[in-house]
């Protein structure tokens, strides 16, 4: 089963590893010596093991654990079952059964993965097989809990492209036409002193002084002040983002904050009202007052507040958990649609998309907006990045999408480290949440509705999600830019974009048609939202993985080239066409078509 599904899109099969061609002979020397190894990857242990496949039952085989992955291959079964799982994907490891249990395969090991699957093994009782495997797995899957380094820091991989150069904040501001008369770039946060979870470079209203910014920072949760994310090239309307104001139970006012928001509004001459999109449900925003937060009250003149009713990280985590229950290992058959509905996953996706559409619609009509939630690093990142994807076709290119992730997610401190829990054994941490996955799902929904509007394909989205967990690249490690700087991620690890940009053609959507000034409005309706089967149900052997249409398009492209070549050869050989003297490979003119009416097909 695993071999049927994994090669299509598993994290290891996506790129060509150089270590795959060891001969069968060497198998005798060392078990699975022909398994792929990355530069810097080292074998730690191998064992005979039984894989309890949820689809076809027990499979005998060998397992190798390295400092990067768990690799399994069956020994007797035909066809061979293999799979390999980066250890970073593992969220928990547990022992099951034992001496008191009956039966042959009673020493079990249960591995829960972050990517919608579980693995179950049985081991021999002799020689403390299971204890060895368990201990090693536990150590290497959760290196940070054991004083070890994440694999990204051990990897010796080299790529043609250096993905760390993909995003240059200054360059991206310039692309947007900044700085300009109304907006300036400030280096105030260069050393992350104003706000340690913000990027070093910030775009702020021209009229706001650094002193103003400091004052505003005191009134915004964790100093995350309103700053510019995107500006409309013609209408000058902007998307700004921040965290909640520290209003508290007493309903505090802060005139600096009020004035600052008004400066944002003024920066775009045409906006009479600044629209504040609070991503939360109204009640949650009210409840936040108890912990010192809250929302902009009526003191903010020239501003309107809209709640977008998107739920918090805990709700999303539970929703995904429910989704996993109905798709893995078996897809709920009897009441599929109502079960899917009861997970609310698609409903949440719909709300996020609908919120982003509202943001995009406001901005494209020339009105500036401010987006925030509580801390401004989860829902806010979803909303700003999705609306920017709708508004700006640059972000729909392969390069632009990388810039978008670097800027809105990594730059503005979405807490990848805490949300994913890289290398951390504490699987039940309340900080875990699939917010980024949900965003990628929204992007996927958009690519479904507009199959020609995105330069990248599903494979890119899957690759991003796989390496969100794998810890092979430094890209998604740690919670914010300052932490990545402190850990020298850029110098000590490789960027995911190095992998992607060294093999661009694999991630290109063949249907892409550039349309620079078009705003995409997806339909955020249950009528169109679909479960992303290629991701959530990818481990099921009854799912075919190739995209038939995309594949066919590539075949036709190859055919076209073949014909063009043939035609060229014929033209060179000088044999004149029988019925016409046309030579250029252009579509036949009407007269030509008439000429060939008699040609039998």
């Amino acid at each position: 089963m695993a071999s049927a599904s994994i090669p299509a899109y598993s994290s290891n099969a996506l790129e060509n590893s150089s270590t795959k061609n060891a001969s069968r002979e060497s198998l005798k020397m060392e078990p699975l010596s022909d398994m792929p190894l990355l530069p810097g990857e080292e074998r730690v242990i191998d064992k005979d093991i039984i894989y309890i496949c949820p689809f076809s039952g027990a499979v005998k085989g060998k397992v190798v654990i390295t400092n990067y992955r768990l690799y399994f291959r069956s020994v007797e079964a035909e066809p061979v079952v293999t799979f390999d799982v980066p250890l970073g994907t593992i969220s928990r490891v547990e022992k099951m059964g034992g001496a008191s249990s009956r039966g042959e395969n009673s020493y079990g090991l249960d591995i829960t993965c972050k990517d919608m699957r579980n693995l179950r093994f049985a081991l021999k009782q002799e020689g403390h097989s299971r204890r060895d495997i368990f201990d090693i797995l536990f150590r290497h899957a959760f290196p940070l809990s054991h004083g070890l380094q994440l694999f990204a820091f051990l990897s010796q991989e080299k790529f043609e492209e250096n993905g760390w150069n993909v995003y240059n904040p200054m360059q991206e501001f310039r692309r947007q036409g900044l700085p300009n008369d109304s907006w300036r770039i400030t280096f105030l946060n260069e050393n992350y002193e104003l706000c340690d979870t913000y990027p070093a470079l910030l775009a702020v209203p021209f009229k706001a002084s650094d002193e103003d910014l400091r004052k505003v920072a005191t009134f915004r949760s964790r100093g995350r002040i309103p700053v510019l994310s995107w500006i409309h090239p013609e209408k000058q309307a902007v998307i700004t983002r921040c965290s909640q104001p520290l209003v508290g139970m007493s309903g505090k006012r802060n005139r600096d904050d009020e004035r600052y928001l008004d400066l944002i509004r003024e920066a775009n001459g045409g906006t009479s009202k600044l629209t504040i999109f609070d991503a939360r449900p109204n009640v949650n925003a009210v409840a936040n007052k108890a912990t010192g937060g809250g929302y902009e009250g009526e003191d903010y003149q020239n501003a309107e507040l809209v709640f977008l009713d998107i739920h918090n990280i805990h709700v999303m985590r539970e929703s995904l958990k429910k989704l996993k229950d109905i798709v893995y290992p078996h897809v709920e058959e009897a009441h599929w649609l109502s079960s899917l509905e009861s997970t609310h996953w698609l409903e949440h996706v719909k709300l996020v998309l609908a919120g982003a559409i509202q943001v995009a619609d406001k901005v494209s009509s020339g009105q500036s907006v401010l987006v925030h939630c509580s801390d401004g690093w989860d829902r806010t990142a979803q909303l700003t990045s999705l609306s920017m994807l709708m508004l700006d076709s640059f972000y729909r290119t392969l390069h632009g999408f990388q810039v978008l992730l670097q800027k809105e997610w990594l730059g503005f401190g979405h807490k990848f480290g805490s949300r994913i829990g890289h290398g951390d054994k504490n699987h039940a941490d309340a900080d875990r949440s699939p917010i980024f996955l949900q965003f990628i799902d929204c992007v996927w929904q958009m690519t479904k509705q507009f199959p020609t509007a995105f330069e990248f394909n599903d494979r890119l989205l899957l690759t991003v999600l796989d390496h969100l967990y794998s810890c092979r690249f430094g890209t998604f490690l740690y919670n914010c830019e300052s932490a990545r700087d402190a850990n020298e991620v850029k110098t000590k690890t490789v960027s995911l974009w190095s992998l992607v940009n060294s093999d661009r053609s694999s991630y290109i959507n063949p249907f892409y048609t550039m349309e620079s000034s078009r705003v995409l409005y997806p339909v955020a309706s249950m009528r169109h939202l679909e479960l992303w089967v290629g991701y959530y149900i990818r481990w099921n052997p009854r799912i075919r993985h190739q995209s038939p249409v995309e594949q066919r398009y590539r075949e036709l492209l190859a055919l076209k080239d073949q014909y063009l070549k043939k035609l060229e050869e014929l033209q060179l050989s000088g044999s004149a066409p029988r019925l016409s003297n046309s030579t250029a490979p252009s579509p036949a003119s009407p007269t030509q078509r008439v000429t060939h009416m008699h040609t039998p097909f």
Binding site: M96, H330, P451, R527, Q546, P577
Partner: protein, 768 residues
């Protein structure tokens, strides 16, 4: 688009500001508005100054014109252009705003000043002057007209005429008879509206022995023969005159057996697998005393026609599939949630409403059952007899699906049309009753054919390159059921077709000549409805035709599959067993691993999958051969709502400048370029057709005709998708779905209760 709730429409808002009316509808033009009539079509009633409602909230975009009821259609003629609409797929038999009377599901008249409304039936009275007419259509459209400025009496007359003429009392009152009668008399019998006929291959109608002979030859069914025992319909009233039976059964036997079968329907051959197994369909045996003996004889005969004397398996469809009433009920529920319920309100429960409609569940059941029959024919090399009480409904769906999965010929356009002709029209599917054209018996109404098309769409959605035709084709084909001029959808069986057209001709004194009957055109002559240019929308740019381009290894794949040892695989599949997956769940809860594990792997594997599951699993684990066997993927998550068909009229669900059509557009440009290159290559080769041309697939209309609707006129710089593309293309929701709430009652409630009020003149008037 997003959750800004539309204002609840009030009746005030339906009254347009007077000034705009005047500027919009200058008097002189109104008078020139005339209905475009077909041969045999006559105007029954008409009314001027009618407003066709476009938007639900305001009357700003409404159109002014004349509403006409003819003996064929409801026609609305106007000089106004639709707002925001840039594309409309034109039908040669119908105008942009026309609705054929056969497409009318329900006629509702309203007088909002008096707070009255009534569902109009045939021959009914109307005690109020309607201010509004709402027509619910069988193709899911809802069309609304306002009579605020129209003459009250003529408005009433038109409404009554529509209600009356959409429920004809007799088959021969269906417009097709007048039309075909007039066309028959006209000098150029085949020309309609100057229709240009495609010179491509004709679809075999299977009303002649030679069509059957060719099919026997094509499938290599040497042990089967065409029999003419039913010539003149002397044996069975609902069977065709010619059909195919085992060689070992003599005409005498057949005549003798016929009496024991329901409606004398002796078993019919459908198709032969190249391995020798055959697909046969038959009705139930009426006489229990004869049951065993007859079953045995039929089985023996079928076995004898199998070159390897393979097994014969019988599949009782009545026991394993939903009934036609179930299908109809599911369809009604699905229509309700798709077009009648308010869009926003139904969003929250959309998925569970879809589930409780059970439509997709039934689609899946038919696909699954067909796949199991495929396993018997291909995997077990056994012949299969499909048995159904009358053999005229469920067997049509299953036998056609099985053939589509097994035989790539039926995935070409001509092949598909011949399949419908063979397994539906000739096999005697009661189209007249199932479409309920005469609105006589609602219990007989059932969208079996649409269900079949939906199943085909599911396969097409999973394997788009395997089909020569597109979902637009399937949709248009389905819509053609409501244009009552085609032989395909008008009759219950071949005999009814023959007899009624003869009687009609006799009663109208139409000289018949050699034919001895009026010839109703089959729907397959598409030029009757569409220009050749528009027909190009039927052609899929993805299609891998017979010997189509296979670029990866250059090998031309043949239809015949190499035999595989299906037992040699470990790749287990979750069971397909009736959706009861929990029972063999090898992924027990954490604490119970030990108890649920069985020590022996081989046993475990055996238990996990049946041979048919292994067959499906094995097939799924390999890349599909698009010119070979095609099996549906049947996880519930694989089955999708056929959005183009069910949501095309819903304005809120339309993705502007998006949807699958935009990728289709891009593909078409490439396919067109390739075609052009092929044409040029042929010039060099002096007319020898390249063997791997997708355009050389059967069914290509004419050599000089370019296959693609979207053409690459600037091959180096493919343009962006045209603005008019949307997820509804080539249809448009503008003006075709106008929901409203009536007197404050949500429309949904009104309709679901509508049947109860049918006889009452008014609904208890709710105060405004």
């Amino acid at each position: 688009m997003f959750s800004v709730k539309p204002l609840k429409p009030t009746f005030k808002s339906y009254l347009p500001p007077l000034q705009t009316e005047l500027t919009k509808t200058p008097q002189p033009t109104i008078n020139k508005l005339e209905a475009k009539l077909l041969p045999g079509e006559i105007v029954v009633n008409e009314v001027n100054f009618v407003r066709k409602c476009i938007g639900a909230e305001s009357s700003r975009d409404d159109l002014w014109g004349k509403l006409i009821c003819t003996n064929f259609k409801i026609s609305f003629v106007t000089h106004d252009a639709l707002p925001q609409q840039k594309f409309q797929y034109a039908n040669r038999l119908l105008g942009e705003h026309d609705v054929p009377l056969a497409c009318v599901e329900q006629v509702v008249t309203v007088n909002d000043a008096k707070g009255k409304q009534k569902v109009l039936g045939s021959n009914q009275k109307l005690k109020f002057n309607p201010t509004e007419l709402i027509v619910y259509c069988k193709d899911f459209r809802i069309v609304r007209f306002r009579f605020d400025e129209a003459g009250p009496e003529s408005a009433k007359k038109v409404c009554l005429a529509i209600a009356h003429y959409s429920q004809p009392a007799d088959l021969q009152l269906l417009f097709g008879f007048e039309y075909v009668g007039k066309r028959h008399c006209a000098p150029s019998g085949d020309q309609v509206n100057g229709a240009d006929r495609a010179g491509g291959p004709q679809t075999p109608l299977f009303d002649r022995t030679c069509d059957w002979d060719r099919e026997i030859k094509r499938t290599g069914a040497s042990e089967w023969r065409v029999c003419s025992v039913n010539e003149g319909f002397s044996v069975s009233p609902s069977l065709p005159e010619y059909f195919v039976v085992p060689v070992s059964l003599a005409d005498q036997d057949l005549k003798q057996y016929s009496g024991f079968f329901t409606a004398q329907r002796i078993p019919l051959w459908c198709w032969n697998h190249h391995n020798g197994s055959a697909l046969v369909r038959m009705a139930s045996i009426r006489d229990p005393a004869q049951q065993r003996k007859l079953d045995q004889r039929i089985c023996n005969a079928v076995t004898r026609s199998h070159p390897k004397r393979g097994d014969v398996l019988k599949s009782d469809l009545d026991k394993s599939l939903p009934s036609i009433q179930d299908v109809q009920a599911a369809f009604v529920r699905l229509r309700h949630i798709c077009v009648i319920e308010p869009f926003e309100e139904s969003e929250e429960k959309w998925l569970s409403s879809m589930e409780s409609s059970r439509w997709l569940e039934y689609v899946r059941a038919f696909l699954k059952h067909s796949a199991e029959v495929v396993y018997m024919l291909e995997g077990k090399q056994a012949s299969v007899i499909l048995q159904e009480e009358e053999d005229r409904d469920l067997s049509c769906v299953v036998s056609s699906l099985v053939q589509i999965m097994l035989d790539p010929h039926f995935r070409s356009l001509q092949g598909f049309q011949s399949l419908v002709q063979k397994e539906w029209v000739m096999a005697g599917h009661r189209f007249l009753d199932r479409c309920n054209h005469l609105k006589r018996n609602d219990k007989e109404e059932a969208p079996l054919f649409l269900l079949f098309l939906d199943c085909v769409w599911q396969l097409m959605n999973q394997y788009p390159a395997a089909f020569e035709f597109t979902e637009t084709y399937l949709t248009v084909l389905s819509d053609s059921m409501w244009v009552p001029v085609f032989s395909t959808f008008l009759f219950n069986c071949a005999r009814q077709h023959t007899e009624h057209s003869r009687d009609f001709a006799r009663s109208k004194n139409i000289p018949l000549g050699r034919d001895k009957a009026l010839r109703f055109p089959p729907v397959w002559d598409w030029s009757q409805q569409f220009t050749l240019k528009d027909q190009a929308l039927f052609n899929s740019p993805l299609y891998v035709g017979k010997g189509g381009p296979c670029v990866q290894n250059g090998a031309v794949k043949s239809f015949k599959r190499t035999k595989k040892n299906y037992s040699s695989t470990l790749r287990g599949m979750p069971s397909l067993r009736n959706g009861l997956l929990g029972e063999h769940d090898y992924f027990p809860r954490r604490s119970s691993l030990v108890l649920r594990l069985r020590p022996d792997f081989s046993q475990l594997r055996e238990a996990a999958e049946s041979p048919s599951e292994r067959f499906f699993g094995d097939w799924l684990s390999r890349p599909p051969d698009l010119q070979g066997l095609l099996l549906p993927q049947l996880l519930p998550s694989h089955l999708k709502l056929w959005r183009l068909y069910f949501l095309r009229w819903v304005p809120e669900a339309q993705i502007s400048r998006g949807g699958p059509i935009t990728a289709f557009h891009k593909l078409s440009l490439l396919a067109d370029e390739i075609e052009t290159l092929q044409r040029q290559l042929r010039q060099y080769k002096g007319g020898a057709p390249p063997s791997s041309a997708p355009a050389s697939a059967p069914g290509t209309p004419q050599p000089e005709q370019r296959r693609m609707y979207f053409k690459a006129d600037t091959p180096r710089d493919p343009p962006s998708p045209p603005d008019y593309l949307s997820s509804s293309f080539p249809f448009s929701p503008v003006g075709n779905l106008c929901r409203r709430s009536i007197l404050g009652t949500p429309l949904s409630k009104f309709l679901s209760g509508a049947k109860i009020w049918l006889s009452t003149e008014t609904l208890a008037s709710e105060t405004l």
